[in-house]
């Protein structure tokens, strides 16, 4: 019995892992052949639309279901709320109408003539005093350590400032929703736009009162999730109910406005921060009170992680949640970290400004207060070289203006676990030499199929084209939801383990046939080798399986070094700010990121490029704007909710930090970390350019001009 040791090759021994593999499903995505849940369109499909509450808080006064049911083309009306029910935020679901054409669904919604009795709402998330007066706050905790008073007394410099990060939405381009169809024998087939293929059957089965075994979840492709698509959701269950009622398939995707109002958001965070530092800028005292909202539950980002990454000895922090009639939060790429980083690293940079010191040196002076100073130091050196920090940095606000345009550089850093979690897969080696992998996983843009194919092709010494990857179906072995940067570690670990076990079994057959020592065999270049001598081809080896394919189940995680967790990451920004218009332009953005062993360099770098662009979005333009008078999310559309376009991003530079000390750690997740410090890095660059802090993200032109005016006043 050959028992091969589980592990990764040394990077130089790999022919595929760590190289720039092309995305194996990329051509399908580019040509429209890739089918998403919203593309499911079986014969007789009904198109459903939803009616939502137009007020911050209201009672449903009346609704004419029978009128809607009589509308030509309308086949089902589903009520989410009954007359007399309170609808607690704008966008709360009231009813859904399924019709033979989308136009008829619109007719049906109009015919409902829903009437609401508006009640007093509260949606002001930034004004802490107002929230206290309105009795809309919730204590989120308070913590102290060390001797704060003594530390402030000893500090060479003390800075007090206010900072903030607005609420943003996930804005998945494919909205939340599903296409639900019942089979004749009472099974539900749900094409669901989900990050959680293996975990959502029960969420349909429970409310529908059927067994989970009767629910098929299919999601071959998903048009964005970012942490917001782990659930079947009440609208998913409603689609299934209407499909059952009508005996026809129903597609219910949220419309854009509703998607933005209830499909998830990243909570806001505002803070008053007082920092004391020594002459080098090392923070020795931190006092903060932060607040914000995640909707009605009244929580802001957790207190325990502020200050972020840096752990000074004397800390007092306090948090207050604001209870608002806003749509509820959902996990947003690196939950809480971008806000915590924006509050911490900007305050840190303000210490540099106050001391008149180079921000780089102040961050350096604080690295001893982080859990991975060597990684940060190395990444800072690389990033500084890439952006030419030495040549570009000047004391804050002292760079001179060119036609009213000032320029500056800033930096920030971040951390994330990226741990592999429980997941499994089935690897199948067919007698003809082809290889398959099955897992109830999904590709949220990571390149899950490409990662799995790369791992197996490397393990078996075959080509990527020899591997067929099956994901996106809950009938495959359980795989973890794609959240928290857990996917690549989990699926690559499980597939490598299964692959190595399968290879061992194959080597047994080869050893028996050729009367050689199976433990000395290796598989490379579609050939089985004994040392440097070719024994047989890959296909000759797999033919020894006879008629029975080799099937091995792989599990994740395991304590065998294939995966680990914990990354750093440093970002630097170079910006120009027009002091007359308040318009900020990113000239260059540099990200240096570690993530252990990189499986696919191309898709890994794409994650980082994408994160930088999302960072530019929340740093400069995107935010949810709630109207205090009406309680409405007044920019819930892609016209007024501003996302950067292709010309708005400047030059992006990405470097994967992967010395031997990193690659030997195994695979670590990458999706979240690079989005964390972009906002703070850009804010610090703007502060370096202007000499004043624009205290709130996004730094829209008005906030820039207000900051300049405040500084002049």
């Amino acid at each position: 019995m050959v028992d091969l040791k589980v592990g990764w090759n040394k990077p130089e021994e790999n022919s595929l892992i760590g190289t720039a593999m092309l995305r194996i499903d990329g051509y399908e995505k580019a040509t429209g052949a890739a089918k998403y849940a919203s593309d499911a369109n079986t014969a007789g499909t009904l198109y459903a639309k939803v009616l939502t509450c137009p007020h911050g808080l209201a009672k449903l006064a009346s609704i004419k279901v029978q009128d809607a049911e009589k509308v030509p083309g309308v086949e089902a009306v589903h009520l989410f709320a009954n007359v007399g029910d309170e609808l607690k935020w704008e966008g709360a679901l009231v009813a859904a109408v399924a019709a033979t054409r989308p136009e008829y669904a619109d007719d049906g919604l109009r015919a409902l003539q829903a009437m609401f009795e508006p009640l007093e709402h509260f949606v002001d998330e930034a004004d802490l005093d107002g929230a206290v007066k309105a009795n809309r706050t919730k204590d989120n905790g308070e913590k102290t350590k060390g001797d704060l008073a003594a530390a402030f007394a000893a500090a060479k410099v003390v800075h007090e400032g206010e900072y903030g990060v607005s609420t943003i939405t996930h804005m998945c381009l494919e909205p939340h929703g599903s296409h639900c169809e019942w089979t004749k024998d009472g099974n539900l087939v749900a094409n669901l736009s989900t990050q959680n293929v293996s975990g959502t059957a029960g969420q349909f089965a429970g409310p529908l009162e059927i067994e989970a075994s009767k629910v098929s979840i299919i999601c071959n492709y998903i048009g964005g999730g970012f942490g917001s698509k782990f659930a079947a959701d009440e609208w998913g269950v409603a689609a299934a109910r209407m499909a059952k009622q009508t005996g026809k398939p129903v597609r219910l995707m949220l419309d854009r406005a509703t998607e933005m109002k209830i499909g998830g958001n990243r909570p806001s965070a505002f803070a008053k921060i007082k920092v004391g530092a020594d002459a080098d800028g090392k923070i020795i005292a931190w006092e903060s009170h932060h607040w914000g909202t995640d909707g009605l539950t009244g929580n802001t980002v957790p207190i325990k992680d502020l200050p972020y990454v840096f752990q000074p000895e004397n800390v007092q922090h306090k948090a207050t949640g604001i209870i608002t009639n806003c749509g509820p939060k959902r996990a947003w790429r690196a939950p809480n970290h971008p806000q915590l980083c924006a509050l911490t690293d900007t305050a840190m940079d303000d210490i540099a400004r106050k001391l008149g010191k180079n921000s780089y040196d102040v961050f350096l002076a604080n690295l001893s207060q982080t859990p991975r100073q060597d990684v940060y130091r190395a990444e800072m050196e690389i990033a500084a070289r890439m952006i030419d920090w030495k040549a570009k940095w000047h004391p804050h606000g002292k760079g001179g203006a060119n036609n009213g345009v000032v320029r500056g550089v800033g930096m920030a850093l971040h951390t994330w676990p990226g741990v592999a979690v429980a997941a499994s897969c089935k690897v199948k080696v067919n007698p003809d030499g082809s290889v398959e992998s099955f897992a109830g996983s999904q590709d949220i843009g990571t390149g899950t199929r490409t990662v799995i194919a790369t791992v197996l092709a490397e393990t078996f010494g075959v080509e990527i084209a020899d591997v067929r990857v099956h994901i996106g179906n809950n009938s495959y072995p359980y795989s973890n939801p794609s959240g928290g940067s857990t996917t690549v570690g989990s699926v690559s670990g499980a597939n490598r383990r299964a692959g190595i076990a399968a290879l061992g079994q194959l080597f047994d057959k080869v050893a028996e046939k050729y009367k050689i020592d199976g433990s000395k065999l290796s598989a490379k270049k579609k050939t089985i080798w004994l040392g440097d001598k070719a024994v047989c081809s890959w296909k000759e080896a797999t033919a020894l399986l006879g008629i029975k394919p080799l099937e091995v189940q792989g599990e994740s995680p395991a304590d065998d070094g294939l995966t680990s967790s914990g990354v750093g990451g440093v970002q630097m920004a170079d910006v120009s700010v027009d002091t007359e218009t308040g318009k900020i332009r990113v000239n260059q953005l540099v990200a240096v990121q570690d993530c252990g062993l990189v499986i696919c360099l191309e898709t890994a770098k794409s994650q980082v490029y994408g994160a930088l662009i999302m960072g530019i979005a929340y740093a400069l333009s995107e935010e949810r704007i709630m109207d205090n008078t009406t309680g409405r999310f007044i920019n819930a559309d892609l016209q007024n909710y501003k996302l950067p376009r292709i010309g708005d991003i400047g030059e992006l530079m990405v470097e994967m930090y992967r010395p031997e000390s990193e690659t030997s750690r195994g695979v670590i997740g990458l999706g979240e970390p690079p989005v964390i410090s972009t906002g703070a890095a850009i804010s610090n660059a703007v502060c370096n350019a202007l000499g004043v802090r624009v205290s709130q993200l996004p730094m829209i032109p008005k906030r820039v001009l207000d900051a300049l005016e405040g500084a002049r006043a």
């Binding site: 429209g32 381009l173 770098k605 662009i613 999302m614 559309d637 016209q639």
Partner: protein, 204 residues
């Protein structure tokens, strides 16, 4: 424009369109006469009559029974199952539904199906009809100009149409020319690389 090609293949003409509108007005009037309250007038909107509409999509004629208000994007996706164009913003802002109408990149959600009669509509599916390979789509693949992929077909169509009209476009021209599409995952870096490389090589 219709006047210049009264004998389009679909046989559609301005006169037919006006006839349809008249039918719609008559239908609305009929409904209104049954109800007295003004409130009813605003809520009981009656649709215009279903008409025969002929669309030329990807070189094929499709005869459809549609109301004049049917949106081209819905018809392409739901009636013709051409789901490469995606519905994202509903407000003609994002470009995920980009198709070519008479060779020009157009948001499908900005057109009624009825007004596209007599025009040549090409969806992203036309790029790979009969198993042919498409250079722009291949360029997107080579530059990993995609993540979730939902905006990608629209971007491919926008890139194709733009480079056909501006084969030697500069970086600045590309950034302006492709500014009508939005990506949330952040694939602009790869798309820019792809478009610049194609413009430099004159490959589009």
């Amino acid at each position: 424009m219709q006047d210049q090609s009264p004998q389009s293949r679909s046989g559609y003409s301005r006169r037919d369109f006006l006839k349809g509108t008249a039918a719609a007005t008559a239908a609305s009037a009929a409904v209104l006469s049954e109800h007295e309250s003004a409130e009813a007038a605003t809520t009981k909107v009656a649709s215009a009559q279903i008409q025969e509409i002929t669309l030329s999509v990807n070189g094929k004629e499709h005869v459809l029974q549609l109301e004049p208000r049917a949106n081209l994007l819905d018809v392409l996706r739901n009636d013709l199952n051409l789901t490469g164009c995606k519905e994202v913003c509903e407000t003609t802002n994002c470009g995920a539904c980009t198709v070519m109408i008479d060779g020009k990149a157009t948001y499908a959600c900005s057109r009624l199906a009825i007004e596209c009669q007599g025009k040549k509509i090409a969806t992203v599916e036309s790029l790979t009809a009969n198993g042919q390979q498409d250079k722009v789509a291949e360029g997107f693949l080579k530059n990993d100009a995609m993540q979730c992929g939902y905006c990608t077909p629209g971007f491919v169509m926008a890139t194709k149409a733009f480079l056909q009209q501006h084969p030697k476009a500069s970086l600045e021209e590309i950034q302006k020319g492709l500014g009508g599409n939005i990506c949330r995952c952040g694939t602009y870096h790869g798309i820019t690389q792809c478009a610049v490389a194609m413009a430099q090589k004159g490959e589009a």
